[in-house]
């Protein structure tokens, strides 16, 4: 390879500097969503906007772009997935993307989304969509502008260009038939399950689970599966998420409800899965493509795999059952292992995406996928959104939210400007099932580990197959290399059928 290493080092140094600003802004946003005083929001938005502008200025800049173009020309095909090739290829890709966005648009979007999240949080608490309406409209206008600028001169729509930020290479045209097929197969399965004579006692999960006890229990399980608390924290917030504030500083956030055990527990496992991906990235490449996650779909595959393939498996509950009984002696008094296992695998159409079961979950995503395309294209106005939301729920899940707080206001995403983000959740579910099947093929006795509370082999496998590669391979390439196949819906459907069919006595 004939790459000029001095130029290469300069470029890396600049991106490491940008990462200092980005990660500082992420820290301020973490604080905003954990404990910042209510009145401090306005100034916080200014702080975050300033830091993100500084990062954006470093990531754009004509001379920097030229240096990347020169480096890219020097690359040969010798080691396309090596760290140096990856760094140059991906930074050049990022530069082309970022340079299309003027600094002031980025700054306005940053302010609008910080304020948007504040407005959303208040609107959700008070169940008043009107309090969020204006902020959302502003965000959509700005994101449409972003999408149009990114799509200019390509065959992509504005929405597709937005989605490409989260899932590089994904296209609406390719996703639509896969999602349609998945919807059909899921709907069939859910109908069979809904009509099944055997049903779990879901009320077990809505008994009194004291929040203090949930806190201790969740932290203990996050630790047990492999989330490293020396390099991370677990906190609480209104909408769970995972954020990384430095190479040794991953923060996961969850929320507990006293009368709904799965919310906090599986939420924590989910975020711990995200966190372990972040903690499995290589520290020495922090802020650079080889040390960054490859796509949100792959990120979500890690959270869903720990939440579902592991966390809702029988071996896992064989191990956890005694601890759960002792953590929640009142709620689980006289509840058998089989009853508990069946309950955490219940399937029933419900309002809240983050609390949906594995089978209905993807229907929640498909609703959002359709609505957000229409919002960005302008086919749907913000005023029409709440009604459109409710109609979609009626059509897909046969239920309607009783108010906007449990309807259109339930997710933080749009308030944060995350359009094109939702489909990555379903991609993640497909990838989780496919990766897990490959892990079990590689280690046929893997699930014995879980029944002994051991998870190291699985985490190591994921780290070697996924985490450590950063952006050296695309999401699709990672899946192909790890599983031998292209991504498909078959593994998810096989997994659901083989677990749920015996449980519901089908």
């Amino acid at each position: 390879m004939t790459v000029d290493l001095t130029t290469f080092e300069t470029v890396c140094q600049r991106m490491r500097q940008a990462a200092l600003y980005t990660s500082s802004a992420d820290a301020l946003e973490w604080d905003e969503r954990t404990g910042m005083p209510a009145a401090a929001g306005e100034y916080r938005a200014d702080q975050v906007a300033e830091l993100r502008s500084a990062a954006h200025a470093l990531k754009t800049g004509a001379a920097y772009g030229e240096a990347l173009a020169t480096l890219k020309d020097q690359l040969d095909d010798e080691d396309p997935h090596g760290d140096i090739s990856t760094t140059i290829r991906e930074l050049h890709r990022d530069w082309c993307r970022d340079s299309r966005l003027p600094v002031d648009l980025v700054a306005r979007l940053s302010v609008a989304t910080v304020r948007g999240q504040q407005a959303w949080d208040a609107a959700r608490k008070n169940d008043r969509f009107g309090d969020f309406r204006g902020a959302l409209e502003q965000i959509i206008t700005l994101k449409r502008d972003v999408g149009q600028r990114l799509a200019e001169g390509t065959s992509s729509s504005a929405y597709e260009a937005l989605m490409d930020e989260y899932e590089p290479g994904a296209s609406v045209a390719a996703l639509t038939p896969v999602f349609a097929d998945l919807k059909q197969r899921l709907t069939d399965l859910i109908t069979r399950i809904t009509d099944a004579p055997r049903q779990p006692r879901v009320e077990l999960l809505s008994r009194e689970y004291p929040i203090d006890a949930q806190r201790r229990f969740s932290a203990q399980i996050a630790h047990a599966v492999g989330f490293d608390f020396d390099r991370g924290r677990l906190d609480e917030t209104s909408h769970p998420f995972c954020t990384t504030l430095g190479p040794q500083d991953c923060r996961i956030l969850t929320r507990y409800e006293a009368n709904w055990f799965p919310g906090g527990f599986f939420g924590t496992l989910h975020e711990a899965g995200h966190g372990m991906y972040e903690q499995g990235l290589r520290d020495d490449w922090f802020g650079l493509p080889p040390g960054s996650y490859v796509s949100l779909g792959i990120h979500e595959s890690q959270s869903r795999l720990w939440e579902n393939q592991v966390g809702r498996s029988l071996p896992f509950w064989k191990w956890l059952y005694p601890s759960a009984k002792s953590a929640f002696p009142d709620a689980l008094d006289e509840v058998s292992l089989d009853e508990l296992y069946f309950a955490v695998n219940h399937v029933r159409p419900s309002m809240i995406r983050v609390e949906a079961d594995e089978a209905t979950y993807n229907l929640h995503i498909l609703i959002r996928f359709e609505l957000e395309q229409a919002l960005i294209s302008g086919d749907l106005s913000v005023d029409e959104l709440p009604m459109a939301w409710n109609e979609q729920y009626q059509r897909c899940l046969g239920i309607q939210p009783s108010n906007d707080a449990e309807g259109v206001l339930q997710d933080v995403h749009w308030s944060a400007g995350l359009f094109g983000y939702f489909p990555t959740y379903t991609l993640g579910n497909l990838a989780a099932a496919q990766l897990y099947a490959a892990a079990v093929t590689d280690m046929p006795d893997l699930e014995h580990d879980f029944s002994r509370g051991e998870f190291e082999r699985l985490l190591h496998w994921l780290c070697e197959r996924v985490h450590r590669h950063g952006r050296c391979y695309s999401g699709a390439e990672l899946i192909k290399n790890a599983t031998g196949d292209e991504l498909s819906a078959d593994h998810l459907m096989d997994y659901l059928e083989s677990k749920l069919t015996p449980l519901f006595g089908l």
Copy 2:
């Protein structure tokens, strides 16, 4: 006034931008000292250094300095304490000071002090001064360099130039005799008290005070005296402090010990006093001199006034006694109001500055004042420091620490590069007594308020006399305007004599 308002606005805008970086760095440091994962320290130091460098670059810069010089030339004597005059005068002063320090020195100091605080925290926990030694030596070398650069061309010593950052206008020559006089009068009083036949039952305060109950109680009192939780938070850390992360975001931090009630309680009142000063500054001038605190001595006067003149008064305890009894029923069972009031006003030489009583407190400061002058001048080496510390304690207080953790490692200041900071504590004590005496002169029935749990009149008085002026007047001018007198030790000695003499039956 003939000031060019366009230039003035440009200058203000630049400083508002600098404040975004400074306050973001402060937020990262707050996080570092409340809950950041242990392994994250190294990267955090880099983040803080980058943000402080960005702020420093904005605060220096030749063209900016020229703009300030031009504005300063345009100033007449018409309204020297107005917001515009103050902004120009003080920013010019800051610029002259900051421009003497090269960016890389500031950055190195920032890294050294972030790491220094981490090293100190670990050294203190393990009682191993050696683990902090190297970091401290590096900080002293850098601070000496800073002091020498600031003092260049003036008659000040390096130490005095460092002190000027915290207490503009203060000189070692002026302080030394005041402190010597104070030392003499305090030593006399303490000797009389130590020999007094009447002594309080201090053991009341080291009974079991459950930390959860202390947390609730302290937060309730901070709120009652006027700390605004809509614009602030109260958290816990290893060394209490107060920091402001935005115009509506003041954070105070305390620490609780189950077997020492005054530590957490008076610590909280103290930090609440600092916080109320910050919350009393004018928001619309945030990041500019009219909205900034004037000096650390004045800052400390606010914390000490609430901690001591209010918090250790009989009317205050008349009000608080029933709540205290109900918050700590076991510890305060059969303890009378008089006994409790006497106990919180105990006087006895002790090891830890932040837990020292009002009478001995200033002796702790005088020790540090002498030692840090010697460290900066080079008369004392870091290796000699622990022994010199212990000798001073023996000489001034008649006691010796049993280990370095309760000796030389007890304070965070030096690890954070804060040399020249300690004397402001004693200045604050003098100012607190003098301001409080003036408030009582203005409102003779003021203490009746306290016995009803009302503190608004006092807070309002302080806000009008001190807080709202920011840097429009110097600390000395503020005291003169508010009290009619120059700052002296007489008010502190009068206050101590008149409270302690009857209590100890002298």
